[in-house]
């Protein structure tokens, strides 16, 4: 298995620990990643609000780069995946736009054929690698850990563009958690929003969102939360200490990115997974894992 790797901006700076844990996972599983270092930011749903054509061209350039390598794109960010899949669908459905985009791309010597597939690590593990194989590769099963899945938005909606999980009743994270030996704790908020897109503009509201859903996950008995998106990770972990000021008590539930959870189960040392960079400590959850 070989992919053109698109880590997304946050995984390369503020959340670099996710970059490292992804590297561990892909190495362990024999997945080869060729990073698209010259690819630009996907726009995160913000860029298209100033110039949607620009956003389409910049993403098409990323697609073209992967196509010229003969590879599909793998990303560890729900937002990147969601933005890209939507643009891909838009270009597929709108042929005049597709032509205009390629006209512009031609000026930088690129051409988007419309063939590339964009996969989140989660899909790649479930569809391409296979859960049975993954289960066999597990070295440190997450026995005893109750994991609350936080899907968030971009990896589920709109379902026609994403073509993977059912946004009404998603099961992908649950299947993954089970394959890793853990137990899923369901709660109200799994498929809701972490508030990141309005973190700057409507701080308090974003915090209230985070606080409510994290509290729900805790009340459902979860030991930790797992999310496929580095932006959700930022919101739910880094800002948790701000968010909990809107609830009566501390929340104190650790949040992991998908790559960290998988890496843990594949035998990575916790120290190598950057837990020290998290705002909410992982110790309690890690203790539960000890044999």
């Amino acid at each position: 298995m070989k992919y053109a790797y698109y880590p997304g901006c946050v995984a390369k700076s503020t959340a670099s620990e996710l970059y490292d844990s992804t590297a561990f996972v892909t190495n362990k599983l024999g997945i080869e990643l060729v990073e698209l270092t010259a690819a630009s930011c996907c726009g995160a749903g913000v860029q298209n609000e100033d110039n949607s054509f620009l956003c389409a061209v910049l993403n098409a350039r990323t697609f073209a780069m992967a196509e010229s390598m003969g590879l599909d794109i793998l990303t560890i960010c729900s937002t990147c995946q969601g933005v890209m899949r939507q643009i891909k669908k838009q270009l597929k459905d709108d042929s005049p736009l597709f032509s205009r985009v390629n006209e512009t791309l031609a000026k930088v010597g690129q051409k988007y054929e419309g063939k590339v597939k964009i996969k989140h690590l989660l899909w790649a593990l479930l569809e391409d690698y296979g859960l049975e194989k993954l289960e066999a590769a597990v070295v440190k099963p997450l026995k005893g850990l109750k994991v609350a899945p936080f899907y968030g938005c971009y990896i589920l909606r709109p379902s026609e563009a994403l073509e993977f999980d059912d946004h009404e009743k998603p099961t992908s994270l649950e299947s993954l958690i089970a394959a890793l030996g853990g137990e899923t704790a369901h709660y109200d908020g799994e498929t809701k929003c972490c508030g990141f897109p309005i973190l700057f503009v409507q701080r308090t509201k974003a915090f209230q969102m985070t606080a409510r859903y994290l509290t729900n996950s805790k009340q459902a008995g979860a030991d930790l939360v797992v999310t496929p998106c580095p932006l959700c990770h930022l919101s739910l972990d880094t800002y948790q200490i701000k968010a909990e000021k809107h609830m009566e008590s501390k929340i104190n539930i650790p949040v992991l990115h998908l790559s960290q959870l998988v890496a843990l189960a594949l035998g990575a040392k916790p120290e190598a997974l950057g837990f020290s960079k998290h705002m909410v400590p992982m110790e309690k959850a890690l203790h539960k894992l000890k044999p």
Binding site: A38, A39, L105, K107, R157
Partner: protein
Amino acid sequence: METQEAVFRILRFNPEKDEKPQYTVFHVSIDEQMTVLDALEKIKHEQDPTLTFRRSCRSGICGSCTMKINGLAKLACKTRASLEVAKHEEVLVEPMENMPTIRDLVVDMGEFWNEINRGKPWLMPDETVTSDITRENLLITAQQQVSSKLADCIMCGACFADCISRVFDKNFTGPASLAKVYRFVADPRDKGGDERISPLVGMGLWSCTHCYMCWSQCPRDVRPVAAISELRTQSVAKGDSSQGARHVKVFMDSIYKTGALNEAALYLETLRLGVLKDLDLIVRLGLKGKAPSFFKKAIPQIDEVRLIYRLAGEGKR
């Protein structure tokens, strides 16, 4: 057609006599084609006449029967009971969110209608054209395509009910209201212009989290979130100086300069003095080695990105 016994768990509440809402369970024999509305009517006619819900056209066009079915706002007349049972084992029926309950599944949609009216939802025409009653405005299909899709809205309230932002922000006018504004902004016959765009910031234009719930739940595929993005573009172009608009501009600059997000710059330039609120956080992040650097190297082949910016009409920065 094959039939099966299905469990309908319905949230009931009559403030006239109940202290708080409670679930009642009904068993209904359903076939493959029956809708949730068909089942509710059956329950009302044969089992419990006090079950209260709105309905009219039973064909997905009037928007009366919106309710929360298995956790999400849907039109009861367009929801197949057998599919709900297949996915969720039972049919959980509750009133829509974000609106107070009047009785059982009937909610008070007053706030929803108020929000729609905030956007002045009627055409603002060119009076010189409309004074001639013998001729219609000339418009080709392509010119009214966007408006036509937005005008498909049946005002069912599903998007408003499931809007996550609206749960936490009562000043956010909501997806239907903004979609309706854009229906007119995108209509070549509308001369509202700035009068339509400038109030939007105050109506919560930048409160949308683009969680895509409105896109998912809309029974008419109106896609309000896409309309909101378009309105934001227009607002920015018309000199919107709010924090939301600033965030977009900083984002655009960042990608031009380095090809990626400069989080530190994004944070600082959007929030400006607001960052002082996070001083404790910044210090802790710094100590953990997680704080992003202010100085970012540009990605390789950044000139391509910059050229594309210029070709897409953005100019040098």
